[in-house]
């Protein structure tokens, strides 16, 4: 193999320009040089030919069978990690949230979910909501303001967020408000309200709706149920491990606005 840049020391810059690595000023300086340098002109022509050669190469997606085997292996491994991490924390309160199973398991689930879903990348908002919910279920992460009083929770958001989220308590209907916190979803800070239904936690994420109103609907991911609707210019995502019917009931209470 010969020296990387035989002839003219600018050929690597020619290459960098074709690779989209040069800023405007660098590119302009290079263009000035290249117009008087036959070596760089030749290099550019060659590089373009090589690129054309490779352009037809089909990009193979992971075959379904391979993907399935990888997922199976990861699930197996994830379970092992989860078990291992519950075992290394024997002194902790393992049953803070009975629905979840334990601190270590929660942490491991959150990590695994984040891993599997990573990171926004045009990713599905619903999965991001679930990942955020699971993260929040870890001790100390659930509420920034713990109060069953909507008149305490609502003003807490003032100055912490650039909109005023509606805050309501549905204790009479069996969904008592527990508090609220700031979270981050869809590329912006959002309000999260925390409700309890029996032993289950419901997170309700609220932020100003985008211009396109989206249809409400329910779905389920990784065993968590989701309800989503827009109302009064806000977008709402409710997520919990309560039954789908109960979450729908919760969503209906909200939409009725009573």
């Amino acid at each position: 193999m010969s020296a990387p840049a035989p002839g003219c020391d600018k050929v690597l810059l020619v290459q960098a320009e074709l690779d989209g690595e040069l800023g405007a000023a660098e590119a302009a300086a290079l263009a000035a040089h290249r117009s008087g340098c036959p070596l760089c002109q030749k290099a550019e022509a060659e590089l373009l030919r090589t690129r054309a050669l490779l352009r037809g190469e089909p990009y193979a997606a992971v075959p379904e069978a391979v993907r399935a085997r990888v997922m199976a292996r990861l699930r197996q491994h994830e379970t092992r990690l989860a078990v291992a991490s519950t075992m290394v924390r024997p002194g902790r309160r393992l049953w803070l949230w009975p629905s979840l199973g334990g601190f270590g398991l929660g942490a491991a689930c959150a990590a695994a979910l984040a891993f599997l879903l990573v990171l926004p990348q045009g990713g599905d908002l619903a999965v991001a909501v679930v990942a955020s919910h699971v993260r929040a279920l870890q001790p100390g992460h659930l509420e920034d303001v713990a109060s069953t009083d909507q008149h305490t929770v609502k003003p807490w958001f003032d100055g912490r967020i650039d909109f005023a989220p509606p805050v309501r308590d549905f204790a009479a209907a069996g969904f008592p408000l527990q508090g609220g916190r700031l979270d981050y979803l869809d590329g912006r800070p959002v309000a999260a309200l925390v409700y309890q239904r029996d032993k289950h936690i419901i997170d309700l994420y609220i932020w100003p709706a985008s211009t396109v109103p989206r249809m409400g609907g329910g779905t389920a991911i990784h065993g968590y149920n989701l309800a989503h609707w827009t109302q009064d210019g806000m977008t709402f995502w409710a997520v919990s491990d309560v039954e789908g019917a109960q979450l729908d009931e919760f969503a209906k209470l909200w939409r009725r606005g009573s």
């Binding site: 090589t50 050669l53 490779l54 193979a60 997606a61 994830e78 599997l116």
Partner: protein, 163 residues
């Protein structure tokens, strides 16, 4: 990491030059990634995953087997070449497909450090910085490796009579 599974698989295939060995590397790399994900503090998960794939491939005994026996050329699974994509003329399509196979063989024959650099740039469309991160190599070396890889490829293609 799952959004980057295709990229990981492609890099593994190009490094291992054999789909079975590539799947082994992919599985192993994803398990490692899951294990260490909690300690990942970087900003570029794709480059991080590609680096794990590459390190896993390098620690595999199968890395430098396979080129003479099973080049990737001609090996198509689901998602491989679709003849109908290349226009209406079946003859031209066939010719184009043959050409692609030969190009692939030429890339597969490049030394591994040139091959990984070229593949990351051309097929994964990584930036120099991302390639430097994934291959743990200074950017200057990335640039000269790319240059050498392209020179070798151009020369080999010319010798093969490819356009």
């Amino acid at each position: 990491m799952l959004p980057h599974l295709d990229a990981a698989y492609n890099l593994a295939r190009w490094l291992m030059r054999d789909s079975e060995a590539a799947e082994d590397v992919l599985q192993e790399a994803m398990v490692r990634a899951l294990t260490y994900f909690a300690s990942f503090k970087g900003v570029n998960p794709r480059a991080w995953l590609l680096q794990i794939v590459r390190n896993t491939a390098y620690s595999s005994h199968a890395l430098n087997r396979g080129v003479e026996t099973v080049p990737l050329a001609g090996e198509h699974e689901e998602g491989g070449i679709d003849l109908a994509d290349h226009g209406d003329d079946p003859e031209a399509a066939l010719l184009r497909t043959r050409e692609q196979c030969r190009v692939r063989t030429l890339v597969a024959a490049l030394p591994v450090e040139l091959r990984e650099t070229l593949v990351l740039r051309e097929f994964e469309e990584c930036s120099y910085k991302e390639i430097a991160d994934a291959t743990q190599t200074p950017i200057g070396t990335v640039m000269s490796r790319l240059w050498r890889a392209r020179q070798l490829l151009a020369r080999a293609a010319a010798a093969e009579g490819l356009p």
